[in-house]
């Protein structure tokens, strides 16, 4: 079987509807019912990408958004359809991480484990620092409410401790790789989303994150950069959390069942 058809084996086809439902039901619950400022609507997409490959992940992501928009199964009126492009890119990247073996469990002890925990924390701090010092957030002329800086610092610190703690508690160096992959996925998602939000919705999405857009515009950013700034704030956090959730799900599934998926052998624990 070739690279493409392998990604759409019957097993993957059976998984995809479940993944799409997880995306939509969880995303809907988190955003609309719990009204939290994260999305959590790409767990299924990343799961399929990691288990099956880039194309399967991209299809899962795009179909999730289109079904959410066009099928009146969960209430019409959402504005998620045009972001199908972002969802596809997220799935594509997840497939790439899967092929590179990013999610492969790497049991570690001693200095390797502490090194990985440190690396994970450093990645988060660097990311937070980039946001903290980015021109989008640090326009001296207007100056932002100080909570913006405080919030970035606090969220960065919590995330860094969370990532390091996750790696140490699970005794698994893979957490560092998952954190990096999640953060990169978030940055790419933000870059892909910003023009869509700017072009289609004049920069806002009707959710809690619009507050960040408003603050950035107040600081003098144009429509596109304000959306990008908001995305660079929300997406790496959301995608890092999502990636860890997927990592935990994969670790909890029977390894015998995981091995039957197209990328199963890239998920088997490594010796070191």
């Amino acid at each position: 079987m070739d690279w493409v058809s392998r990604q759409f084996s019957t097993r993957v086809i059976a998984l995809m509807p479940v993944a799409i439902a997880i995306n939509i039901v969880l995303g809907f619950t988190v955003q609309k019912i719990l009204n939290l400022p994260i999305y959590l609507d790409s767990i299924g997409t990343i799961l399929v990408g990691v288990l099956a490959g880039p194309l399967a992940g991209a299809v899962t992501g795009a179909l999730s958004n289109l079904i959410w928009q066009y099928a009146p199964v969960i209430g019409p009126g959402s504005n998620i359809g045009p972001f199908a492009v972002t969802a596809a890119v997220i799935g594509l990247l997840a497939g790439l991480w899967g092929q590179l073996g990013v999610y492969r469990s790497r049991p570690a002890t001693g200095s390797t484990l502490y090194g990985a925990a440190l690396l994970g924390a450093v990645v988060v701090v660097v990311l937070a620092w980039r946001i903290y010092t980015s021109p989008a957030y640090s326009d001296p002329a207007n100056g932002y409410p100080s909570w913006v800086y405080g919030a970035i610092a606090i969220i960065g610190a919590i995330a860094a401790i969370g990532v390091a703690g996750f790696i140490l508690i699970r005794r698994d160096a893979a957490g560092a790789a998952v954190a990096v992959a999640g953060a990169i996925t978030g940055i790419v998602a933000a870059i892909v989303s910003a023009p869509i939000a700017a072009y289609v919705y004049e920069g806002v999405t009707g959710s809690g994150t619009d507050l960040i857009v408003a603050v950035l515009r107040q600081g003098g950013q144009d429509v596109f950069n304000a959306s990008l700034g908001q995305g660079l704030f929300s997406d790496p956090i959301d995608k890092t959390i999502t990636s860890f959730v997927v990592f935990v799900i994969l670790a909890s599934l029977s390894s015998r069942l995981v091995a039957r998926f197209p990328l199963g052998e890239r998920l088997a624990p490594s010796a070191t």
């Binding site: 019957t10 086809i13 059976a14 039901v25 939290l36 767990i43 072009y199 004049e202 515009r217």
Partner: protein
Amino acid sequence: MTDSPLADLHEEPVRLPDFVARLPGGRYRTLNPATKATFALVEALVAFAVRGWTGPTTMLVVGLAAAAWAGLLGRTLRVLVITSPLVLSIMLVNTFLYPGATDVLWRIGPLAATAEGLTAALQAVLRVAAFVVSVAVFSFTTPADDLLADLERRGLGRRAEFVVGAALQTIPRMRERAAEIADAQRSRGLDTEGSRWRRVRGIVPLAAPMVFGALSEVEEQTMALEARAFSAPGRRTVLRTLPDSAAQRAVRWLTGLGAVVAVAGSLAGWLRLP
């Protein structure tokens, strides 16, 4: 499908029981799903891509006219109301915080409403409204399995059809299951209401059984699909054929072509619309 290798095997049209044929009835609903899908996509494309007032306004009027013709005006307007948070956000953020706008209309404290911002906001709201109406009219008049049956007749593969069809039945089931789990946890004292922090804490015990319950069924579903010849080669037998006509085919091509010309003209600048 006249080019089907099976066509000569059954020249006599097979009559399906009514509960399988499910021929759509009622104004607008009787159109072929592909025709309704074309209309919805064209409306969305023109509303988004033809900038200014003309594109979104025309498409909103067209969409509402279709809704009225289908007897769905009330339902469609109620859907529009659901988008009010987005509309409000677009109006506020752009009217008061439009980058680079200087033509101040009025001031509220430190915020200034600008004419340029108000224009951009209203145009974006029109785009959103036209899009939402196009989606509502399509989804209210076209059962998903009609669209899938029609697309399958036009060559959509069994895998794509299965994924979409199964997802559409899995979503409501999973919502029910999530509600059951939430109920069970509420009775055990794990609150899903109350403060935000409590809601955040409530999400893991709510999501985990839902996710693992669904994933645990994938393996058995895989084997059940194989046991029903899912990976057999070749085309699947078409069961339902939804009515279509040469006139509808012509209309689909013409509207599609018209939309492409309008969008290209608008983007290239030789079709100047207000």
